[in-house]
């Protein structure tokens, strides 16, 4: 998969013309606002926010991600719609390199019309005494191809049996409760959520800035439940990145440059409700790797576990990375060359009735903490809390992640080096136009 080198605006002039148009269409003030710094290069790294599909799904992966799941604290449906409207506007602004809200004004939380928020609700030019409309750490930075992708968890529709927002009847059948998989060790603090926000950018500070601003705006309506940052290596654009196991990850992935493949495997079609057509289902998994254990294992066994050669990335028995997997060749004893429990065999579309989905994973690294490995030799102690923040998009999770992983959870040789500790399933609605907002059709607003 080609990951980088994809820039929707090739010149600064195009970018400025486009952003002015978008801003005007959105009814946003442009004059006098803080702009992104004038890039020295001709290319301005902006990914378009508005469109048929949300950005951040088939967008070539940026270097950094910051994912957050939110729980709604309001009991009012209109508050949720107001939040999504405010988030949409702020996300669109930030994608263009602007502050989340106009900096000339004070912060306008979504609850601004509520009595308890009245204090914020007045215009103060050059305001230094009010709470700033934006925390400011992205000032002067490039937009860094920021994308912000929103999703709705099952709990938005029904939570603990309660239909909080009169949305239960609109819950898509594909937005299932995730089954429990063999080996799952899910931690409450890394699992679930009513709403999801995935921010990706080529600058870590830009990605975190985006989620941080949205959380500020959400005050009194929604609160962060859990969050996870992620990163990709800054490798050559034409090479598949290696994950923390030292293997190339993502060689086999439906191509984001082929609309037909995306329509088949990623975008919800006529089978979904109107608000989901052109949207996609997001499955995230926080996968902790026992790196200390992996690092003691000889390379040949690592290759058997994965089913690929470590350095070339080629399937076992082949010489180049993009050679087709040969799942049918046996050794002289009649045992398969790519082991029956090798990761690539179990993940292959050929062994999953053709099931595929789009993987968009990031590595994560959260320092060290005390843990007990779950596999022989059951090492215990201070270990890296690092691994893969697995992000995937699919047309229907029942024919995507859930179908494929159900078998992998049981048989994948890699399981003894990884533990799934966090999980989430979210319905990411279709994209929005500047006169609308993400999820508007669901709320009938």
């Amino acid at each position: 998969m080609k990951r980088r080198g994809h820039h929707p605006f090739t010149t600064r002039r195009q970018f400025l013309a486009r952003s002015a148009t978008l801003a005007a269409a959105a009814g946003l003030a442009t004059a006098g606002e803080t702009k992104a710094q004038a890039p020295s290069a001709a290319v301005v790294p902006v990914e378009p926010f508005w469109g048929e599909h949300q950005s951040g799904i088939v967008t070539p992966a940026q270097r950094h991600s910051y994912f957050a799941a939110f729980d709604l604290t309001t009991s009012k449906r209109s508050d949720v719609a107001d939040l999504l409207r405010a988030w949409t506007i702020a996300a669109a602004r930030m994608a263009e390199g602007k502050t989340a809200q106009p900096l000339e004004e004070s912060l306008k939380p979504v609850m601004v019309s509520k009595p308890q928020a009245k204090a914020y609700d007045h215009y103060q030019p050059a305001n230094l005494t009010g709470v700033a409309a934006d925390s400011g750490e992205s000032l002067g930075l490039s937009p860094a191809r920021l994308t912000v992708t929103f999703g709705f968890g099952p709990a938005l529709f029904v939570k603990d049996g309660a239909d909080r927002y009169e949305l239960a009847a609109q819950r898509p059948s594909a937005l299932v409760d995730m089954p429990r998989f063999v080996g799952d060790q899910l931690v409450e603090g890394h699992t679930g959520g009513d709403l999801s926000v995935q921010a990706c950018a080529d600058d870590q500070q830009v990605a975190f800035h985006a989620v941080r601003q949205l959380a500020r705006i959400a005050a009194d309506v929604a609160t962060i439940r859990w969050a996870q940052s992620g990163f990709l290596p800054d490798g050559p654009a034409h090479e598949t990145p290696r994950n923390l196991m030292g293997f190339k990850d993502g060689t086999v992935n439906p191509s984001i440059t082929e609309p037909a493949a995306m329509a088949k495997f990623v975008w919800v079609g006529e089978e979904g409700p109107g608000w989901m057509r052109g949207g996609s289902y997001l499955v995230v998994r926080r996968i902790r790797m026992a790196l200390e254990h992996w690092d003691r294992v000889n390379t040949k066994f690592q290759e058997q576990t994965i089913g690929r050669h470590k350095y070339s990335g080629a399937p076992l028995g082949k010489s180049s990375e993009f050679d087709a997997l040969d799942l049918d060749t046996n050794d002289k004893d009649g045992n398969p060359v790519i082991a029956e429990n090798a990761h690539v065999r179990l993940a292959a579309a050929a062994t999953n009735d053709g099931a595929q989905f789009l993987r968009r994973p990031y590595s994560y690294n959260d320092g060290v903490n005390v843990t007990a490995e779950r596999w022989p030799p059951w090492r215990q102690g201070l270990e890296y809390d690092a691994g893969l923040f697995f992000i995937s998009y699919q047309r229907d999770p029942r024919n995507g992640f859930i179908k494929v992983y159900e078998r992998m959870a049981k048989f994948d040789m890699m399981n003894q080096f990884v533990t799934h500790v966090g999980s989430g399933l979210f319905a990411c609605p279709r994209g929005a136009n500047p006169d609308s907002f993400i999820g508007r059709e669901l709320f009938g607003a």
Binding site: V182, R296, D331, N335, N341, P376, P377, K410
Partner: protein
């Protein structure tokens, strides 16, 4: 995974040739994962492997029964489930599931390698329970009797039942049956009580092999008609990783019972096991060390050899019980995530109906493996 056959090289050439020709392991080349043994409730660590001798209730003849020793939290001595695996279609279904706490069973439920199915359809399994995954909280346990539909009907406990542990040997005559069960739990302390001489948890030489005679009437659970200690004085000790180390595997050939003495790394023979009225102590050593690396479950091959699973590597060892000669070993778990490969991954073992192939549990990945020609 690539596996290799090792042959004992210490013997003279003509001995090699002789052993070579008779080896069952030599003819086995294919290793196939049959199924995951993890249950809906997340139970892990498959232990016993039993091939059903008859069709009865939920079970079809040739089905493979496997129990789990650990619960979802991976604590040893807390598994409560038995699954049925159909070899032909690789399907897995639940045979029985017990509550963790069972008042009739001292300490609760943690199902062990001591399991069998009688031709009358009854399934009998041992429990060596804990509450924290170590012997510090170990209860004496019990023997649990299920009907062929997985319904618990009877629980046997008593002063001679403590830590029923290894695979059973049985004599099954339909209306009567005899079970041989190793008991490895007497007075075993927690794993933190260390013997200063060895640096390992203290060894207590109190493990026994119990013979249990049963009478089986149609429509009623088996009744215990006699209990005899036929062997005693085996070493047993706690272990942080393996929970418990003690006599484990049992295999009966004629009237001689073979016992894997894991602590002493040897196989011993107990003469007249089915008929004797007293204990033979630890019996006669048949084979020791060599390819053995803490032997666990035993199984008798179609040609009268015995296979033993090794705890400390991923090999199965074949020996001739008549001569005591070790014939060879084969890697059936080469998982190099452990050192040496497969260390700690093998336990239960059972011959397939053809007398050559065998089934074994893979505790590293929680599956049942078939090794076949």
């Amino acid at each position: 995974m690539k596996r290799a056959i090792l042959f004992l090289l210490a013997t003279a050439m003509f001995d090699m040739a002789e052993a070579h020709a008779a080896s069952v392991l030599e003819g086995l080349h294919r290793h196939t994962t049959i199924a995951s043994t993890v249950t809906e409730n997340g139970d892990l660590n498959p232990y016993a492997v039993v091939v059903a001798p008859v069709s009865a209730g939920k079970i079809k003849k040739g089905d493979i029964l496997v129990d789990n020793f650990n619960n979802q939290s991976n604590l040893q001595g807390t598994g409560t489930t038995i699954v049925i695996i159909n070899r032909a279609n690789k399907s897995v279904s639940l045979f029985a599931k017990l509550p963790q706490k069972l008042p009739q069973c001292p300490g609760g439920v943690g199902l062990t390698t001591a399991m069998t199915m009688l031709s009358s359809g009854w399934v009998i399994v041992g429990s060596t329970p804990s509450t924290d995954g170590t012997t510090a909280t170990k209860g004496a346990g019990c023997l649990l009797v299920f009907d062929a539909n997985g319904k618990l009907t009877t629980v046997w406990k008593g002063s001679r039942i403590n830590g029923p542990w290894g695979n059973m040997a049985i004599i099954d005559k339909g209306s009567t049956a005899t079970l041989f069960i190793s008991m490895s739990g007497f007075d075993v302390p927690g794993p933190d009580k260390i013997d200063p001489k060895t640096g390992e948890p203290v060894t207590i030489n109190k493990a026994i092999v119990l013979r249990v005679d049963l009478a089986i009437s149609p429509g009623a659970p088996p009744k215990v008609t006699g209990q005899t200690i036929v062997a005693s004085g085996f070493g047993q000790r706690a272990d942080k990783d393996a929970f418990l180390i003690g006599p484990t595997g049992l295999a009966l050939i004629g009237n001689t019972l073979y016992v894997s003495d894991a602590v002493e790394n040897r196989i011993v023979a107990i003469p007249d096991a089915a008929t004797r009225k007293d204990s033979a102590g630890t019996g006669r050593t048949v084979t020791k060390d060599g390819l053995l690396q803490r032997p666990l479950a035993l199984a008798v091959t179609g040609n009268g050899h015995i296979l033993a699973t090794n705890a400390k590597n991923g090999q199965v060892v074949e020996f001739d019980p008549a001569s005591g000669k070790q014939l060879g070993a084969q890697w059936i778990n080469t998982n190099q995530a452990q050192s040496p490969p497969g260390n700690g991954n093998l336990f239960g073992l059972a011959m397939a109906p053809d007398g050559k192939s065998f089934y074994s549990v893979q505790d590293d990945v929680n599956t049942l493996l078939e090794t076949a020609p």
